[in-house]
Symmetry: C2
Subunit: 546 residues, 2 copies
Amino acid sequence: MKIALAQINYHIGNFDSNVKKIRESIMKAKRGGADLVIFAELAISGYPPRDFLEFDDFIERCQRALDEIASDCEGIAAIVGAPAFNPEFQGKDLYNAAYFLNNGRVEKQINKTLLPNYDIFDEYRYFEPNKEFGIIEYKNKRISLTICEDLWNIGNNPMYTVNPMDELMKQKPDFIVNIAASPFHYDQAGQRKAILLQNVEKYKLPLFYVNHVGAQTELLFDGGSLAMSPRGFVVEELDYFNEDFRLIDLNKIEGAAKPEGTQKSEEKIILIRKALVMGIRNYFRKLGFDKAVLGLSGGIDSAVTLVIAAEALGAQNVYAVLLPSEFSSSHSVDDARQLAENLGCPYDLIPINDIYDSFMKSLKLQFRDLPFGIAEENIQARARGVLLMALSNKFGHILLNTSNKSEAAVGYGTLYGDMNGGLSVLGDVYKTQVFELARLINRGKEIIPENSIVKPPSAELRPDQKDSDSLPDYDVLDEILYQYIEMRKGPSDLIGMGFEESIVRKVLKLVNTSEYKRHQTPPILRVSPKAFGMGRRMPIVARYLS
Amino acid sequence: MKIALAQINYHIGNFDSNVKKIRESIMKAKRGGADLVIFAELAISGYPPRDFLEFDDFIERCQRALDEIASDCEGIAAIVGAPAFNPEFQGKDLYNAAYFLNNGRVEKQINKTLLPNYDIFDEYRYFEPNKEFGIIEYKNKRISLTICEDLWNIGNNPMYTVNPMDELMKQKPDFIVNIAASPFHYDQAGQRKAILLQNVEKYKLPLFYVNHVGAQTELLFDGGSLAMSPRGFVVEELDYFNEDFRLIDLNKIEGAAKPEGTQKSEEKIILIRKALVMGIRNYFRKLGFDKAVLGLSGGIDSAVTLVIAAEALGAQNVYAVLLPSEFSSSHSVDDARQLAENLGCPYDLIPINDIYDSFMKSLKLQFRDLPFGIAEENIQARARGVLLMALSNKFGHILLNTSNKSEAAVGYGTLYGDMNGGLSVLGDVYKTQVFELARLINRGKEIIPENSIVKPPSAELRPDQKDSDSLPDYDVLDEILYQYIEMRKGPSDLIGMGFEESIVRKVLKLVNTSEYKRHQTPPILRVSPKAFGMGRRMPIVARYLS
């Protein structure tokens, strides 16, 4: 039996585009002589469709698209994911379904059993869990069809009380298919393969795995669809961060020996860079935009953002605006200009002094002779925000946000100022990782001026300001943040790890009292296991560790 | 048996305050000779604790607080809600538990069976559903203890496949206790009573119901705890929108006749007003703030917001800022000033012309002689946003957002401009309802200048601009929005209702393409069954009806 894996970048709700891509892959699979072609989970709708699932109209469109696709399945079978109405009176209104299409129609519907409902996942919001287990019989083979999480209740942290494969094994399948929507984070590809391997080792069957690829706002899907032999070898592995298609002989997988050479695993920081490039590119393309604008300060965050945006969109499509104030050091402007020139990005210089003065003059009666403070710092950041948005509005650029995760965590940023943007590129990248990205970018050739990397980080909103005036060193800060945000460690854990109590309490308080700021920030490209955004839901009004 | 109902305004994560309030109520119940005092669901943590539940430290603090409370339960029993660790290896890590405290210790733990996971609810994110059903025996009575949603799988839309009370009835209880966290919307109190009534009618038992009261960021809890007789009469009903405490004789409930007089149900618009007042007041008090600032335009939205904020915080604590531009009509300034004077709010006038000119001068090179457009309109709104935030930062006021739900829905507002604020007061109130609120406020006496109510709505960002230039009339717009947002009707449903197709398509497109704006707006006080915010989760990058 020949099986095709189709790894596609879907567009949520764009049924025309999704159906077209699926049908093209069916044709391609047919031409290659495939017996079966496999698409991802909820391929027809795109993933995650979120509350569009609450609209009957949306589900009906999915079902019509499914019928259209089924009509192509003559002489070939296809497996494709789509939401389905639950015909029962009791329970949630929908199933997360995988359809087996053959002979021009839907021959079988398999529903998802294990519904992830943690971090960025909300599947139990929409779907009723499956409770019946059936096998697909096709060309003398028995297919165990599972959907993503259905294979994940294995190993040492069982989140569910059932295991679908244990049920399906009673029906003696010949191989496992898993259609998935498994988003990227920097450790995910490794974890995913480990889970798939545990399944193959337990059930001793070949496995065909098809994932999404491409970005859906903050969620980045890295692809990595694969075929695994019953002995646990990854025999075929599709591309990462790109659409891909592979025709595979089942016999070859069943009997596969250990592949030659070891599978290379890429450096984490390289994965992050690729993911961010894809995230920006897809955000723009899927919204129908070409061009970005950003504020280039001469600091490392905006420098790295500019480089990555230029990779994603082309240097000529990223417009850098230098917005110095009286507190900007001259080298900041020079470094920023040098970087724009190194990349070949268009850039402008718009000093903000006059605007700042104009605000201060208008507020004279109210501010009287009160000392310079946060208000004045924020006016500068917000004047920049207004200028960047004005350029964005005038010329149809999307403003890219340049804040990093460390800043976002402790609230070190100005709401409606430097926290503006349609998309946050580095909001899930700690400052210490931003340095790693800068070093990666400069491997071989100095793209980012060395001075932007080595100078002490500063917001340059008052004379001689340094980040280190009000924050611990980033090495310490980022480790505390990681333990608190990613690992959910509490203060006593952190103090037990050797961090100074006063610093721990200060950092956690900063994180928890700046929730109101993060509530209003742009979507953040997710590259870690716990990003700010849809996967981290915190009360704003609360008093815990704050 | 004497039973006390304690309806309390909790503060999420503020264990000191929550424990203190609970212990005071236990003392009060003891003094009143109560045998049992009942508190709400997750009272100890406050509701909803959201992802704080993922921190072991947070759960451990809840459990320590529980022990402290239990130590007071000598000579009285108490029922109180708190999160509990799930001791089993498989399944989610926590239970949503109700504890029966007696003889100075925890005597019984009952876990929640039905976990709401729709709209604003995320309980399946954290909790394992209960599967075992037990009764509490106390002083010769058998208590059927249930938690909120456990009573809701009744009637004509069963969302779950089990019904806890059906199980519990096998153990022959004498009365039902339901501890809840049931948030307000303008129809909720009625629905809640109808559900409780259906339970009482089915099971023919007295029912004691204890809800939260007070605001938790966007969620407003209206209280309305009650005791219902087996014949379906509400015999005792606690206050709405206020803390309350009631000592009730079980015998009286068991034998209650129909209460004299009919229960008055308040007008929807009065409920909304009370809810908004509570929402503002609690947001400020729980964050430790006293004072608000807002931009007062002379239009109806900011006028209504100002009146409600003044009710919540005291007129002297709400600072109104008039920020006219060259496009503001003179009557706008007059109307705004008149309102501030009617209320006795402090106010200032800060024209934005010079700031606007300063921005335009700085952008001259880029904007060249391109025609006046959205960019210039937004600069005005953003200059106002910067001024208001500067005052907020300088004087410690929280900026109140004045956008209404109709605007928020169609994206008729400037991000980082008039969409700024710590809290959106009217973001769940359609424009037609804002008019109703204004009429309500002016009942008896003209508080809001009539002119602000009757003049055609306008953003006043260009000469002679009217909302009706680019939007359908609000009567039509709001009805389409209601059918789409609250009722999840699709385009064919709407056209079938008689709305013009071109208008329907335009409105739905506006809603779906402005998701990116709503993503960055302040939390919105929720008064409807479907508010923008945590209860409505939409993809930003998508192409559905757009």
